[in-house]
C-alpha cells in the first residue's frame, strides 16, 4: 500500500516541480558533506552525521529535483545513519523513497533497484518484519541473477543476508542452502583461504545450529577461526570474537568444559586488547563482559557492563535498542547474582525502551516478556 502511495506521488511530481533548466550545484560543498558524514559515522557521532547528510541531500535535491536518481545514494546513507540511531521509521521512509525513484526512473529490473531492495530488507530484518524482508531479498536476488549472472558476488551478498534472515525465521534448512550457495560463489571468486569468507562461515554455523546440527556448526566456526588465525596477528579482536562464538556454541550445546577453556583464552586475549577510544574499544569490552559472565566472574562483568551502559546511553541516547540489549544482558547477570527484583526491574526498563521503537510482536520484546514471566513466576516447592 505504502509503495502504491509513493508511486502515485512520484507520478504527480512532474506537475509540481519542473526540472531545473541549468542547474548549478555547490559540488565542492556537496562532496565535503558526503565525505564528512561518512567519516563521522565511523566515530559514532550519528547526530552530527545526520545533520551533514541532510545538508548534502538539500544540495543534490536543489540541483536535480527531489526525484532524480542522483538523490538516492544520499537518501540511502541518510537512512543508514538513522538506522544506527534507532530511528527505524525515518530510515524506512528514506529507503522507500529511494527505491520508488529508482523503480520509476531506471525501471524495475535495474541493478540499483536491487541495491535499494536489499537495504530495505536489512531494515525489515531488524524490525522483525521477516516476510516483507524475504520478499525484498527474493526480488533483489532475481534482479541480480538476471543482470550480473547467477554466480556473481552481488548474488552471493544477497544469498548471505537471505541465509541470515531464514535462520532468524527458524527455516534452518533453507538458510543452509542459501549460505552454501553463497559460500561456493565466494570461494570460487576469492579462493578458500580468504578472510572475507569468515562472515559467511559464521552465519552458516548459526544456520546449522538452528537445524540441530551442532557438529556442522562447530566445523564452520573452527574453519572461520583457523582462517583468522592464519591470516591475522594473534592480538586481533576478530580472533577473540571468533573464539567466543565457538565458546558460545559449546556452552549452548552443553560442553561446559570445552566452553570454559575457550572463554578463559578469550578473556586473556581481550585483556591485551586495550585502547583509549571507548567507541572503538566498545565491542571488545562488551565481549569481555560476556566472557566474564560466562565464566562466573560476576563482579568483573558487572563493572564492564556499567561502563558500557553509561557509554551507550551517552552515545545513542537512553531510548536506543542497544541500551535495551545491554540492560537485558545485565538482567541476566543480576539473576545469576540472585538479585531477582533488580533483574525484573532491569528487564522492564529494557522492554519499555524496545516498545518505543519496535512493534509489540518483535522477537526481542517477546523474549523479554518471556523472561519477565519466568522470573516473576513463583518457585515451586
Amino acid at each position: 500500500m505504502k509503495r502504491t502511495v509513493l508511486s502515485f506521488l512520484l507520478l504527480l511530481f512532474p506537475f509540481v516541480r519542473t526540472w531545473a533548466a541549468e542547474p548549478v550545484m555547490d559540488s565542492d560543498l556537496f562532496q565535503v558533506c558526503r565525505v564528512s558524514a561518512s567519516g563521522t559515522v565511523q566515530t559514532g557521532r550519528y547526530a552530527n552525521a545526520e545533520r551533514t547528510e541532510q545538508k548534502a541531500l538539500t544540495i543534490v535535491q536543489e540541483q536535480f529535483g527531489p526525484v532524480h536518481p542522483s538523490v538516492v545514494p544520499v537518501l540511502n546513507d541518510l537512512a543508514t545513519i538513522q538506522r544506527y540511531m534507532g530511528q527505524y521509521r525515518e530510515a524506512e521512509k528514506n529507503y522507500r523513497w529511494g527505491l520508488a525513484i529508482r523503480q520509476q526512473k531506471l525501471g524495475p529490473a535495474d541493478p540499483q533497484v536491487a541495491e535499494s531492495l536489499a537495504y530495505l530488507a536489512g531494515l525489515y530484518t531488524d524490525l522483525a518484519d521477516y516476510d516483507e524482508a524475504l520478499l525484498d531479498y527474493e526480488q533483489a536476488l532475481s534482479i541480480r541473477e538476471r543482470t550480473t549472472g547467477k554466480t556473481s558476488l552481488e548474488v552471493a551478498n544477497i544469498l548471505r543476508d537471505m541465509g541470515n534472515l531464514l535462520t532468524l525465521m527458524n527455516r534452518g534448512s533453507e538458510a543452509t542452502t542459501a549460505l552454501k550457495r553463497c559460500l561456493s560463489i565466494q570461494e570460487k571468486a576469492w579462493g578458500p583461504e580468504d578472510l572475507r569468507l569468515v562472515e559467511t562461515l559464521e552465519l552458516s554455523a548459526r544456520a546449522a545450529q538452528t537445524n540441530g546440527k551442532g557438529d556442522q556448526a562447530e566445523a564452520f566456526l573452527k574453519r572461520a577461526l583457523a582462517l583468522l588465525q592464519k591470516n591475522l596477528t594473534p592480538d586481533r579482536l576478530e580472533i577473540a570474537d571468533s573464539m567466543q562464538k565457538l565458546a558460545d556454541l559449546y556452552r549452548s550445546e552443553g560442553f561446559s568444559d570445552k566452553s570454559k577453556e575457550l572463554y578463559l583464552k578469550v578473556a586473556m586475549l581481550r585483556d591485551k586488547l586495550t585502547g583509549t577510544d571507548l567507541y572503538m574499544m566498545q565491542p571488545n569490552l562488551y565481549g569481555a563482559a560476556l566472557a566474564d559472565l560466562a565464566l562466573g566472574r560476576l563482579k568483573e562483568s558487572k563493572g564492564l557492563f556499567d561502563r558500557i551502559l553509561k557509554f551507550r546511553k551517552e552515545l545513542y541516547g537512553a531510548d536506543h535498542p542497544k541500551v535495551a540489549l545491554c540492560l537485558e544482558d545485565m538482567a541476566f547477570l543480576y539473576e545469576k547474582e540472585g538479585k531477582k527484583e533488580k533483574a525484573l526491574e532491569t528487564l522492564k526498563e529494557a522492554k519499555g525502551i524496545l516498545e518505543k521503537v519496535l512493534d509489540p510482536d518483535h522477537p526481542a520484546i517477546l523474549r523479554l516478556q518471556k523472561k519477565l514471566d519466568s522470573i516473576s513466576r513463583p518457585e515451586k516447592g
Partner: protein, 400 residues
Amino acid sequence: MEFPMNPLKPLTLLVAFLVFSSASADFGNWFVANKRLSTTLDSPTKKISYRFTCQENMTLSAIAVYCLEALVPCPAYQLSLQEDDNGLPTGTPLSFCSYVPQDHAWATLPMDAATLLKGKVYHIVLEADMLRGGGHSVGSIGNSNQASFLSTDVLNHIHPNDGSLDLQANTLFFDGSKWKELDQEPIYALYGVGSKFQGDVYDDPGVRPIYGKVLQGQSLHFHCGYTGKALAFRVKKRGNPSALRYQILVNDYRNHSCKPLCPAVVVPAGQITSNFQWVTVGIPEDVQRLFRAECWFFVFQTDSGRAAKNEDGCEDCYQLSDLGNSGGPAKAADLTFDGGPHLSRAVSFTDASDLTRWTDEFERDANVGVLGPPCKPENHQEVEPISTPILLENEPRAEP
C-alpha cells in the same frame, strides 16, 4: 634502440581494453573505424535505431545524424529518442522531430526537452514520416525516393571521447517485421542544455601513410603527470618497407618546435602484417616517468617508400589508421577523443629533418595510445556507501 614487441590480435586488444578501461588507466585513441556503412530506409515500415548508453545526465536540446545518400525528391523522416526495452526501442518517443535529409551531410535537429539519465540505454530511431508533420499522407518512399544513414565498421563498445565502456552501443534495423542488431557503430550526436554533448561523430575512417621523410602520429595531452610503460598503435604495411621507428617528441611551444625525448625505437618490419593490427612496444625505461601533463608527439617513420597514386597513397610504406569528422555537427572536436580542450590530435611532419614544421589536424585522431597506470582520481568521485549496522539479532548476547 630495439624493444620487444607484441602484436595483438583485435580480440585480444578488445579484451585487454575491457580490463584496462575499468581502471581508466591507458590514455589514447582506441576507437576504430575501418569503413563507412549505410542502412537504407526505402519503405514506410523500415526503421533504424542507434542504441547507446547515456554518458551523463542531460536535458536534451538537439540530435544530429548523418545522411550518407539521399535520392531526390527525398522523403521526410521522423527522428525520435526512445527508451530501451530489453535491447529494443519502446516505440514511444520521449521527443521527436521531422526532417528531410540531404546527401552526405549532418543534420542537427532541435528536439523538445527530455531528461536523459547517465547509465541508462536509449535509442535514436529513424523512420519514414509519411505525413511530414501534417494530417494526411504527402510523401512517397521507394527505390527512387529514399535516404541512407551512416554507421561504421567496427562496433567498438566504447564511447569515443573518453574510452569509457558502452556495451549496449549498436545499430539496429527493423525490416518491417522484426529488429535485428547490425553490429555496426552508431553515428550520432546528442546535445543538451548547458553545453552538454555526447555521441560518435567519427564519420570519416582514414589512413595516414608513413614513408620517407613523411612522419605520421598523434599528439597526446596527458591529464596528469603520467608513467607510460608502452606504446600501442594500429598499423599495417604495404609492399616491403624497412623497419618502422617511433619517436617521442617534446613540444617546445615557446619556439614552436619539437625535439626528440629519446632515440627512436625500432620496430622490425617482419613484426607488422599487411592488415591493420594493434602493436604494443615498450617505452624506454629512462623516459617512462617523464610525461608531464603536456602535449607529447608520438610519431612514426620509415626510411623506405614513396608517395603513390594507389588506394593507400604510398608504396613500401606503413599506414597508421585514423578517423575523423568530415565537418557539420557542432562541438565535433569536443565529441572526438580527449574532448574538451582537445589538445590530442593527429599530427604529421612532411620533412623529418625539420621538426619545426608539422600539421596537426583538428577533429582527426590516429589510433595511438600509451599504456600505463591511471591518473589519481579526481575529487568528485562517488562516496562509498556507509556500511549498515550489525542486525540487532546478530549482536553478541549473554545467552547464545
